[in-house]
C-alpha cells in the first residue's frame, strides 16, 4: 500500500488515535502528555504539508474513506483551498501546543491530560471540517469541534462557565440550523455528497426548498462564525478562557467556519445560484459593513487588550464575509488569503498577549506600562501582529486588505471600501495606544530611582511559538504572490 496515497486520511486518523493515547499516558504520567501532543501536532503538520505539496503537483485529491464509492460513501475532498486551510490549522495548532506547556501547568495543573486530549480532538474536528466532502459528515465534525471547544473554553473557570454556557446554547442552535438546511437539500437532491449535490442544484434553482436550505445553512454558519447580528457569544467566551485556549480558538474557529461557508456557497450551491438569490441594493455586503463598523466601535471602547482583540475578530469576520459576497475574483482571493493571514496574525497577537499575561497576570492596557523594557522580544512579536492588523506592508494583513479593497472598488461597493479603511484606522488607534503605554508609560518609581528594569521574558517554550508566529506574519506577506499563484488562483479561476 502506498503511504502517500493514504495521506488525506492519515491527517485525521493519526491525531484522533493519539488523543486517546494522550489520555491513557496521562493516567500514569502527566508529564508525558505535553511531549506526546507536540509530537502529534508535528506529525500532523508534516502530513498536511505533504498533502498540500501533492495537491500542488498533482491537482485535487478525492479520497474514498474505507473505499466506499461516492455518493454513498463518505469522501475527503482535498483541493487547493482545503489543503491551504488544513496547513494553516496544523501550523497554529502546533504553535499553540508548544505554547501550552507552561500556562496549562500554571492554570489547570490537575487536569493536564484532559486538556491535551480535548485540544487534539478539537484540532481533528477542525481538520475534518476542511477535508470532508460530505454535507452530513460536516455537521458531525462541526459538533465535534464545538463540543470540544465548549469544554476547552470552560477551563477558564469562574466567569468562563456562564459565558461558555451562552456559547453552547447559541452554537447548538447554529449547528441545528445547518443540519436542518442539509435536510432540505436531501429532500430535493437525495444526496449528501457535496460534489453530487452541486451537479444537481442548477436544475432545481427555482425550488423554494433549496432556497430554504440555502438560508438555513447560511444563518447556521453565521451564528458559528459570530457574524454581526449573531456575534454576542464571542467576546465573553474568548475573554474569559485561559490564554492558551483563546490563542487556539480565536484564530481558528471563526476562520474555519468562513472556509465552510465558502465551500458550501461556491462549491455546493455555486456562485450563480448564490448571487441570483440576493440581487438589488440590500445585500450581504451591507451586513458585513455593519459588522466591521460595530466590531471596530466596540474594540475602541475596551480597556482590556484581550477583550479588544475579540471585537477585532468580529470586525475581521465582516471583512471575510464581505469579500466573499462581492462577487468578483479579487474579493474572493482576498477572503481566502485573509483566512490564512488573519489566523496567523490573531495567533501571533494572542500568543504574545498570553506570554504577557503569564508574567504580568493582567491584560489591561493600563498595566502595560514599560512592557517593552520588561519583555522586549514578546512585545516586538505583538507589534508585528498589530502591524498586520493595521495593514502595514510587508505584513500579510496589508495584502489581504489590498485584495479586499480592490475587490470592493471593482464591485462598486464603496461602503465596504470605506468600512475597511475606517477599520484599519481604528486598529491603528487601538494599537498605537498600547504602543504608547508599552514604550513610554514607565512607572513613576522607575523614573525617579532610575533603576534599570529587569528583563523578564517568558520561558522559551512560550517565546519560541510567539516569535515563530510573528515571523510567519511577515513571511506570508512576502510570499503573497506565490500563495496566490500556486493556490488561490487555482480555486478562484475555476469559479469566475
Amino acid at each position: 500500500m502506498n503511504i502517500a496515497a493514504q495521506l488525506p486520511v492519515i491527517v485525521l486518523v493519526l491525531p484522533l488515535l493519539s488523543a486517546f493515547a494522550v489520555t491513557l499516558v496521562s493516567l500514569f504520567n502527566k508529564k508525558l502528555a505535553w511531549p506526546l501532543t507536540v509530537l502529534t501536532m508535528t506529525a500532523t503538520f508534516l502530513a498536511t504539508t505533504g498533502t498540500l505539496c501533492s495537491v500542488i503537483h498533482n491537482g485535487a485529491i478525492r479520497y474514498r474513506v474505507a473505499n466506499w464509492a461516492p455518493p454513498f460513501g463518505i469522501e475527503l475532498v482535498i483541493d487547493h483551498l482545503s489543503a491551504l486551510v488544513a496547513v494553516v490549522i496544523s501550523i497554529v495548532a502546533l504553535l499553540v501546543a508548544i505554547f501550552a506547556k507552561e500556562t496549562i501547568q500554571k492554570d489547570i495543573p490537575n487536569r493536564v491530560g484532559q486538556f491535551y486530549t480535548l485540544f487534539i480532538l478539537c484540532t481533528v474536528g477542525l481538520l475534518g471540517e476542511t477535508l470532508t466532502g460530505d454535507a452530513f459528515n460536516l455537521y458531525v465534525l462541526i459538533e465535534i469541534t464545538s463540543l470540544t471547544s465548549y469544554a476547552l473554553l470552560a477551563f477558564g473557570g469562574s466567569r468562563a462557565y456562564f459565558s461558555t454556557f451562552n456559547y453552547l446554547i447559541l452554537g447548538t442552535i447554529g449547528a441545528c440550523l445547518y443540519l436542518l438546511g442539509v435536510g432540505y437539500l436531501y429532500i430535493k437532491t437525495g444526496s449528501l455528497n457535496m460534489i453530487d449535490i452541486a451537479t444537481l442544484i442548477p436544475a432545481l434553482s427555482g425550488s423554494s426548498a433549496i432556497f430554504t436550505a440555502f438560508i438555513l445553512i447560511l444563518v447556521g454558519l453565521w451564528i458559528k462564525m459570530a457574524f454581526f447580528p449573531f456575534h454576542g457569544w464571542l467576546p465573553n467566551a474568548y475573554t474569559h478562557a485561559t490564554s492558551t485556549v483563546s490563542a487556539f480558538a480565536a484564530p481558528l474557529m471563526t476562520k474555519v467556519t468562513v472556509y465552510m461557508s465558502i465551500r458550501l456557497m461556491y462549491f455546493v450551491f455555486g456562485p450563480d445560484y448564490a448571487f441570483s438569490q440576493f440581487t438589488g441594493p440590500v445585500n450581504i455586503v451591507w451586513l458585513a459593513v455593519i459588522a466591521i463598523l460595530v466590531g471596530s466601535y466596540y474594540a475602541l471602547v475596551q480597556t482590556d487588550i484581550k477583550r479588544m482583540l475579540t471585537y477585532i475578530i468580529i470586525a475581521e469576520v465582516g471583512y471575510m464575509v464581505g469579500g466573499m459576497w462581492l462577487g468578483n475574483a479579487i474579493g474572493l482571493t482576498g477572503t481566502i488569503y485573509h483566512i490564512a493571514a488573519d489566523a496567523i496574525m490573531t495567533a501571533c497577537l494572542f500568543l504574545a498577549l498570553g506570554s504577557i499575561a503569564y508574567k504580568l497576570g493582567s491584560t489591561k492596557i493600563s498595566d502595560m506600562a514599560g512592557i517593552f523594557k520588561k519583555m522586549p522580544v514578546t512585545f516586538c512579536a505583538f507589534l508585528v501582529g498589530a502591524a498586520g492588523m493595521i495593514g502595514i506592508p510587508p505584513t500579510a494583513g496589508f495584502f489581504s486588505k489590498w485584495f479586499l479593497i480592490s475587490g470592493g472598488i471593482q464591485a462598486g461597493q464603496w461602503a465596504f471600501v470605506v468600512a475597511l479603511l475606517v477599520s484599519s484606522l481604528v486598529n491603528a488607534i487601538l494599537f498605537f495606544r498600547i504602543i504608547e503605554v508599552g514604550f513610554f508609560g514607565a512607572d513613576d518609581e522607575d523614573e525617579h530611582d532610575a533603576v534599570v528594569v529587569q528583563r523578564n521574558e517568558a520561558p522559551l517554550s512560550m517565546l519560541l511559538p510567539t516569535v515563530t508566529a510573528a515571523a510567519l506574519v511577515i513571511l506570508l506577506g512576502l510570499s503573497t504572490s506565490k500563495v496566490t499563484s500556486l493556490l488561490i488562483e487555482n480555486i478562484v479561476g475555476s469559479l469566475f
Binding site: 462557565y161 454556557f165 442552535i173
Partner: protein, 132 residues
C-alpha cells in the same frame, strides 16, 4: 386545513422548534434553557424521520434467497425502492441523537459549575452578580 392534515408532521416540527427556541430565549432558568435546547434538537429529528416515510412501504430489510447457481434468479435481486422506507435519515438521526446526548451532558456539567460559582441557576441573578 387540508394543508395542516396533509403535512401534520412538518407543522408539528415547526411548532416544536419554535417552542424550543422560545424556551432558550425567554426562560431565565438555565435548566429550562437546556430543556428548550433538547426540544429544538428533537424537532429536527422528527423532521428527518418524516422525510423518510413512504406510503405503504415496508421496513428496509431486503430478504433475498438467491441460489448462486441459477443466473435467472438474479432478477430477484432487483429492488423496488418504493416498497421500502428510506433508511438513511434514520441512520443520520442516530448520529444526531448521540450529538444531542453529548451536548446535554456537557451543558449539565457546565450548569453544575455555574451553580458552584454563583449559587443560583437563574440567569438574571447570575448577571446581577457578574455586573457587580
Amino acid at each position: 386545513m387540508n394543508l395542516i392534515i396533509a403535512k401534520f408532521n412538518y407543522v408539528l416540527y415547526i411548532v416544536l422548534m419554535m417552542m424550543g427556541l422560545w424556551a432558550m430565549i425567554a426562560k431565565s432558568n438555565l435548566i429550562k434553557k437546556v430543556v428548550g435546547l433538547g426540544i429544538f434538537q428533537t424537532a429536527i429529528i422528527l423532521f428527518y424521520i418524516s422525510i423518510s416515510v413512504k406510503k405503504g412501504a415496508n421496513i428496509p430489510i431486503i430478504h433475498h434467497h438467491v441460489d448462486p447457481n441459477h443466473a435467472a434468479d438474479a432478477a430477484h435481486m432487483v429492488i423496488d425502492a418504493a416498497k421500502y422506507a428510506n433508511p438513511l435519515p434514520h441512520v443520520l438521526m442516530l448520529t444526531a441523537i448521540v450529538v444531542g446526548v453529548a451536548t446535554l451532558g456537557l451543558a449539565l456539567t457546565i450548569i453544575q459549575h455555574i451553580y458552584q460559582e454563583h449559587h443560583t441557576i437563574e440567569e438574571d441573578e447570575i448577571l446581577e452578580q457578574l455586573n457587580q
